[in-house]
């Protein structure tokens, strides 16, 4: 049986042209996907535009704020927590904090530290109020081998997971290194609360938006120190501008071996710790 070659040729040509079309379409889709992937993977978020913010005489391109915590100095007095609550109108309850202090206690014969914070019911009972904080003397009579306090706050990460996941861009990284929340834009989905590996965010039910430490952005842009730093009686909290080589925080960074919390998260936290232990995360 003879086969007429023409239809086969035509079919082949048609087949090839279709393959060509499909390849082109594939290439365009691929290139588009690559572009999108780059955008999505972008580690550094584009900071909000504008040279001066939030005040006319403040240029956020001229500062690089950083925060240091010397855990060896902290005495767990919790003045910082109360100062923060007052300064930033944080709800007066034992469940929502912009900053908090953790207590790590190693009892003789135990493998792991006992950890608590001032929000623990035992400590709240000791203070007698959800608005005032103190650490109860709950390990009286125990043989304590080692104990220390660790102040915690938002790490203002270089690659913040909260900024990455915000569906409307309401939470953003400023040029001077602080993560802020635009509460007029936020839809209140709380994805950022879930994404933060440090538990730094809480949801303010009254305002319908999340809230977190901003290193007292309203103060630092006016040349003041964050409220917690100012309230700390022992200098355990250190704040300043890394652009100024003689600032307290620059010296703190230069003169100490530093640690950050959960470095494996890839978030690159910007709160630097001295004197924390292996169990702190």
């Amino acid at each position: 049986m003879t086969i007429d070659p023409t239809p086969s040729l035509v079919a082949r040509r048609r087949f090839l042209s279709r393959i060509g079309l499909a390849t082109c379409a594939g290439a365009i889709t691929g290139a588009g996907a690559l572009g999108l992937a780059r955008k999505v993977c972008a580690k550094t978020e584009a900071p909000a535009a504008g040279a001066s913010f939030p005040t006319k005489d403040y240029d956020w391109t001229q500062h690089q704020w950083a925060f240091g915590v010397d855990a060896t100095k902290c005495i767990g007095c919790l003045r910082c927590v109360e100062a923060c609550k007052n300064e930033n109108h944080v709800p007066g309850n034992a469940h929502q904090f912009r900053t908090w202090v953790e207590r790590y206690v190693y009892i003789e014969g135990e493998q792991r530290a006992r950890i608590d914070s001032h929000q623990d019911p035992v400590n709240i009972a000791a203070s007698g109020s959800q608005k005032e904080y103190r650490f109860a003397d709950r390990y009286k009579g125990e043989k304590v081998e080692k104990a220390f306090f660790v102040p915690k706050l938002c790490n203002q990460c270089e690659h913040p997971a909260c900024v990455q996941v915000c569906p409307v861009g309401a939470t953003y990284k400023t040029k001077d290194g602080v993560v802020l929340i635009d509460d007029k834009r936020c839809i209140g989905c709380r994805y950022c609360v879930q994404a933060c590996p440090y538990g730094a965010r809480y949801f303010d039910e009254e305002r319908g938006v999340p809230d977190k430490c901003t290193w007292c952005y309203h103060r630092i842009t006016k040349g003041l120190q964050p409220a917690c730093v100012e309230a700390c009686p022992v200098g355990a909290r250190v704040f300043g501008d890394l652009r100024d080589r003689e600032s307290r925080v620059s010296l703190f960074v230069r003169n100490n071996r530093l640690q950050v919390l959960r470095p494996e998260s890839g978030n690159a936290p910007q709160v630097f710790y001295v004197g924390i232990d292996k169990e702190v995360n």
């Binding site: 908090w100 839809i187 709380r190 538990g199």
Partner: protein
Amino acid sequence: MESLIHFAPYVGWVYPNETVVEWTILLAVYPYLTGLVAGAFTVSSLYQVFGFERLRPVAHLALLTSLCCMLFVPLPLLLHLGHPERAFNAMITPHLTSAMAMFGFFATFYVVLLMLEIWFAYRPYIVEQARKRNDLMGKVYKVLTLGSYDVSEEALRVDQKWVFWLAVIGIPGAHGLHGYVGFLFGSLKSREWWSSDLMPVIFLFSAIISGVSLLIVLYVVSCKVRKVAIDVGCIKGLAYTVWAFIMVALLLEALEFANIVYKGREGVDMIMEYVTGPLLVPYFVLQFGIGAVTPLLILSYMIWRHTTGRALVFGVTLSASLVLLSVFMMRWNVVIGGQEISKTGKGLLTYFLPILGQEGLLVALALTLAPLAVLLGMIKLFPPWHDKAGHAVMAAS
């Protein structure tokens, strides 16, 4: 401000801000509904695209079910938002690095696709009703014709082509939408219980089994209510579908759990304490034992013994109901479970489900059942039945 009444009790060490569980039961209802959408659509596609003739009696019902569930998907999210009036910010100014930003676009795309497919599938029926009826419903059908009264053979052929291609596009559409919901959780590195590459696939397969199961229940109930014979071939086809997908779903879940345990990263001790303690009943007993393994065994037995007739219908419907429970428990165990394990990896929280309130049990139940109520209306407007009692015109499509 007074103390929050819904703070979660805890054991061990948890971050202070974690003592309020932020994603409630509504966030479990959301993926449940999306899953039903994807699963129901799978059934319609198996018929429309892959030519599974057995599934013909439920093909149109599947489309309507998918749409009805989809209409309610955004509602649990809206009820949960702190500022629902700003919800459209996510579409007007989406932040592209966010996994959540695309939801509005995906959902809109899919709803439009479903409505188009239903319109093409029902066009002959709509035209017929528009011509036949003079009452108010007649007017409704007239509007629904969108001015197109051509039901010539050529026009119907074009309609069928549209239905086919929309179903083809709908497969990645529906499954993409649901895989994407899995990604919302799986892409978060803050929680070991969520952070998994397998999460989107697990969500997808559980979605398929839930949607198919819902159709089984709906089909059987509708036949009983309408007093028509149940098409055993169709039930068998659906049962095979559930059986096949449940195997994959179970395997994936097992892989996921094995990965967490075997990798044994930081916090695994707490996870083990959790799954063998508070999660024992919801996870091992309800989700796996009663909800997945039992239906798998029942279905396997019936396939092996060539069960047919009433026994088959009963067994399959029972299995389907169990699967529906299992998949809801899976959503619950992911969403609530993830938050009950502290980010510290050193403590466990307890979420209490309120009965009343915006994010309570009653609202969640209403949201889960609402699509079925709308479906009741929808099947009046677009009868999906293919049997003799159903409308004759459906036989043409």
